[in-house]
Each structure stands twice: as structure tokens, then as C-alpha cells.
Subunit: 351 residues, 2 copies
């Protein structure tokens, strides 16, 4: 509060003590008499003393704030993660500085530089879909800045990570489609280089193989680096619909891709699930209210946030440099609804 400055010195003067005594009393040092402590504490609270965190930061050479960068706040998945992060950070006396890359590698760089120049104690990162050069992260990590990756991780940096079991999540979703009778399942997925993309694609392929369905690479489509999901999804859908042998189901692997595909299908009057089934990763809370109610893979975003910040604080508050890192894997959850109903005559009749 720059507009008012009750300092330790005010207390010292009022009580005829030195600032160091006051400082020690406030921090409950054992070398201060109970009586002095009482007086100091009492007076401090009577004039509503608040320590100046900036002075403390300068002195302690840490800021008790951490940075988090995500691709976009206005995305339920990420905002839930941030919720999780904040909920524990605040309890532990840290504040959270939020930044978004908006899927631009350049903006990501700028934001990271901004965050680190603001003397953050640690960094939570989910990389942009355009990120190729990870040298800045490596450099920061090497210099000793605690970093925890979540969701979209950088494979070759050895630090704590939190991810969802993307492979299994995608595997189960694919198996579900297969069980429901779909065979030409298109995978509409993120940029190829992303960790989550590789994992989800692996899950998809594994499921197909397991059920003896040949994988048609023409059905696996990636968005372009830096591209925005909605238009990318529309372009992919349009291309898929234009090809000879159309898919009979779509598996989209992100919130925005899922809604992008849905929007395309509705716009072009393609019946779901009769002409095309649809399942997607989504953390939207209203997928059941969509037309049709959407089958989804939901990620435990809040938990991912709490886990990531806990790991980060562990790194930050560790006395000795940490050299043992772990990757925590959380389970995804599936909700199957009408958008992937089986294509049996039974249901068609019911309509």
C-alpha cells in the first residue's frame, strides 16, 4: 500500500525500541522477551502494521510469487487449472502471475521474459502449440529457476511434470467408438510436435490395432502450429468431408477442436451420430446441454493445477537442489452420451 506506510520503524519509535528488536519480535524470535513481544505485537496490530512484501523480497531475494503460462485463460480447461493453482498458492502465501501465449511462440517468449524479469520464484508451464525452440526453458532451468511443466510438457527437460494419461484417455475413447460400431474414425488433433498430441495419437493407434482396424493416415489430421483451433477444425472437417472415403466418426482432442468440429457438422447439417459420431476432449460444463449431448474425455484440470503447484513449491522451498524429478500422471474421465450412440436400427427407429 503505497499510500500509507506503517513501518517497523514506526513501531520501534513508538515503543522506544530498535527496529531489529521489533523485527525479531514480529517474527517471534526466541531471543526476545515475552513482554517485549507482547508489546510489539499489540502495538503492531493496533496501528494495523502490514509488512512491506517488496522490502522483504528485496532482502530475501525472493518474491513469493510464481508465474504460470497457458495458451489461453478463457478456456475452461486452463481456467480450472489456474483455479487449482491459486487455491493452494494463496494458502501458502504465494501469489500467482498469470500469462497467456495465445499459441504464439513469440508471445510466449516475451511473456516468459516478462515473468522472469519480475523476479518470480518459480514457473508453471504448458507450452504453446507453436513452440519449437525450448532453449529458453532449458536455460532458465539450468540457471536454477524451478519449473514444473503441466499438460503440454517439454520432453527433454528433466524436471517435475504433471500430465493426464493421454494415451489411455484416447485409447478408451477410441475403443468406445469401435464398440459402438464405428470403423473409419478420424482423429482431429493438435499440432504434431506437442507431447499431448503424440500421446493421444498413440492411444488412438493402439486401440485401432488392438481391434484389428487398419489405421488410415488420411484420417489423422493435425492443426498447424500457431493456428487457432476453431478455424483449423473447420478446415480439417471440410477436407475430411471432401475426401473419397469419409470418416464415420470424429475424435477431437481438445476443447476448442471439439466445439469446432461440432460447429462445422451442425452448420453443414450433418447428423450426429447417424452420419458422423463425435467425441472429444472437453472440460466445458455444458457439453450435456449441447445438441446432441456430447461424449467427452474430461481431464481433472483442478487437480492438475493443485498437483503442479505443490510440485513447484516443493522445488522452491527445498533446501538443497532437487535432482530427482517425477512425472505425475492423472486419470482422464469419460462421459459417453448421445453423440456416440451406436448406429443400430434400434435407436434410429426410436427417433
Amino acid at each position: 500500500m503505497r499510500y500509507e506506510a506503517v513501518t517497523i520503524r514506526d513501531i520501534a519509535q513508538a515503543l522506544g525500541l530498535s527496529t531489529s528488536t521489533v523485527s525479531r519480535a514480529l517474527r517471534d524470535s526466541h531471543e526476545i522477551s515475552t513482554e517485549t513481544k507482547r508489546r510489539v505485537l499489540e502495538h503492531a496490530r493496533s496501528i494495523n502494521y502490514q509488512p512491506n512484501p517488496i522490502a522483504v523480497s528485496l532482502r530475501e531475494r525472493k518474491s513469493r510469487s510464481i508465474g504460470i503460462i497457458v495458451s489461453e485463460i478463457a478456456n475452461r480447461f486452463f481456467s480450472e487449472i489456474i483455479n487449482g493453482v491459486e487455491s493452494v498458492a494463496i494458502d501458502r502465501g504465494y501469489n500467482v502471475i498469470i500469462a497467456q501465449s495465445l499459441e504464439s511462440a513469440e508471445r510466449e517468449l516475451r511473456q516468459i521474459q516478462f515473468l522472469t524479469s519480475r523476479s518470480i520464484d518459480g514457473l508453471l508451464v504448458s507450452v504453446s502449440n507453436e513452440t519449437e525452440d525450448t532453449s529458453l526453458f532449458k536455460e532458465l532451468h539450468q540457471k536454477g529457476l524451478p519449473i514444473v511443466f503441466f499438460d503440454r510438457v517439454v520432453q527433454d527437460i528433466d524436471t517435475h511434470k504433471v500430465i493426464v494419461d493421454n494415451t489411455l484417455g484416447a485409447f478408451d475413447a477410441t475403443v468406445h467408438l469401435i464398440r459402438k460400431g464405428y470403423r473409419r474414425i478420424a482423429l482431429v488433433t493438435n499440432v504434431e510436435g506437442l507431447s499431448i498430441t503424440k500421446e493421444r495419437e498413440a492411444g488412438y493407434r493402439a486401440a485401432m490395432h488392438k481391434h484389428g482396424i487398419p489405421v488410415d493416415d488420411a484420417l489423422i489430421r493435425h492443426t498447424r502450429p500457431g493456428g487457432q483451433a476453431e478455424p483449423e477444425a473447420a478446415a480439417i472437417m471440410s477436407s475430411l468431408m471432401g475426401q473419397e472415403d469419409r470418416p464415420d466418426a470424429i475424435f477431437a482432442t481438445s476443447d476448442r477442436l471439439t466445439t469446432g468440429c461440432l460447429r462445422y457438422l451442425k452448420k453443414h447439417n450433418i447428423q450426429i451420430p447417424d452420419e458422423m459420431a463425435l467425441i472429444g476432449f472437453s472440460n466445458s460444463e455444458i457439453t450435456e446441454l449441447l445438441d446432441p449431448p456430447l461424449s467427452i474425455v474430461r481431464q481433472p484440470a483442478f487437480e492438475m493445477g493443485t498437483t503442479a503447484i505443490q510440485m513447484l513449491l516443493e522445488l522452491i522451498e527445498s533446501k538443497r537442489p532437487v535432482t530427482q524429478f517425477r512425472t505425475q500422471v492423472l486419470a482422464a474421465e469419460h462421459v459417453f452420451r448421445q453423440s456416440t450412440q451406436s448406429r443400430d436400427t434400434e435407436r434410429v427407429k426410436l427417433r
Copy 2:
């Protein structure tokens, strides 16, 4: 960056200058020779010097960070606002510390105390629905902390404010329903004390009066302070459906209330719009994909954010204390879709 400390002193020593000269050179003071400036700048960039913002803050007695408190980040309306705020804050060298009240007055208090104790330069506030006691805001404002209210404002604090034209927004939505043939229009709205509630209710009443439709107070329902919108909406809907003379249309005045009402109606198999029309305030980007496509009042959230932060920076950076305050009013936007189609035989036949 606590792990690395290139300071102004390192530069001074390397170049055989004093820290003050370096400091002045870096800030391009006119009393430093061009040659010295060149050398300093060059060396600074060669060793990647970054000024320590904490030291600057301590010295300047400001932190170049601002706080924003909203009820919930994971709400598209607020996350869009935050986007807007961030987009200009970053350009101006400020960072944004985000806090959420989760509609709890107590949590709001704690968060505000936390923010102000973190030496923020200014505060952006949309109050929780439970807030009655605004004395903390008054006190802070009196002490000179720049505050800008947005969305849910505190009426009797004289400072800059940004709101949407809630009255007109609600008026137009109500008129739309009336034109479509609905008469028993229920207003499912926020906590009674909230500024936005009063304004939206006023708009609703004005529209009804203008069209000569008597206002039935039994159709005006408020959520309870501290309550979460979704369950509140469900409770209100259930009560409305239980009453003698049911409404034929619902006008919900927030994102969550709108989806809450929709969820209730679908769950109870009440046909929209045949048995009940529905329109609501919403900033969700997928309302057109809902079943049925939803008519909405959309607020210019991003713009609200940019406006609010600009006003705040104006207060923060003003040389003299500002005494003239203004309230900026932005226009809401309407999208009318199937959920409020007129109840004419024409459309019923088409089904």
C-alpha cells in the same frame, strides 16, 4: 531472477564507472555523455542485464502491478474481461494479479487484504454477490488507492466505473420476448442488492410497463447472497414450475443462471420454446450449439476489461489526485435464436 544477479554494480565495475552514472545512462539521462551511454548500454546488453523490479519498486514505492478481483475465473465473462485487462496492462509494463471471491464476502475480504498487502498500485473490482459491507473499499479508496469498479459496482463510492447498459440490455431482451408473444415472463436474476440486478430488473419492468403488461412480482426471483448460481437457478425454476400460474418464458440474467435454467428445463423435459422460452445473459461461445440454440444478451467483456484498466492506469499515473470520476457505459449485444422463437402455429407445424 533470484538465481542470477547481474546488477547495475557489475556494469559499473566492469566499466570503471559509478553505479549512479550507470543508472543514469540506462535511463538515458541527458547529463550523461553519449559515449558513456553507448558503452553502458552495450555492456548491459552483452551481459543481459535486467533491472531488478523489486528494487525499483522499493525505491519508487510502487510495484507496477495491479490487482483484479472477480467472482470466478472459470467463467467466460470474467476470463474475457481479464484478457482485456492483461492485454493493455502488459503493454504498459504492469502485471496483473488475479483473485477470485467465489461469491463469498469473507473470501473477498481476505483476497483484497492479500492484494493490498502485496503493494499493488491499483485495484479492479467486481464485487461478490454476498458483499454488503463495502467499508473496506471505502477505506482503501479514501486512503488514495486507485480503484475502478466494473460490472458489479459499488454505487456510493465515487470513482471510475465501467458497466454495460444493463437496463437497456434487459429492456431489449424483454421486449423481444413480448414481441414473440410471451406474456408471463419470469426474471431469474442475481442477488437483490447487486447493481447489475437492479439495473436489469429496471429494464425488465420498463419493458413490461411500456407494453402494458402488469408485472407479477411472483415472477421476479433473486438468488441468495453467497449462493452458487447453478443450484440457485434450479431451485428457482422448480419453485416457478410449482406455482399456480406458470411463466411462459424465462429471462435469466447471468451466464450461470442461464445454463442452470436450461439444464433444469431439459432435465424435466420441458420443451423450449414451446412450453417455455429462454433467453439469458451469456458470454459462452457455444450458445448457438446448445439444444435449442439459445437467445442471448452478450456483454462486451474484453472491451470492458480494456476500458477498466485504462481508467485505472489513468488514476495511477495521474500527477495530481483525480477528483472527477466518470462511469463508462458499454452497449450489450443481442442474439436471438430458437429458444425464443415465437409461439405461432407456423413453427409448431414445421417441427
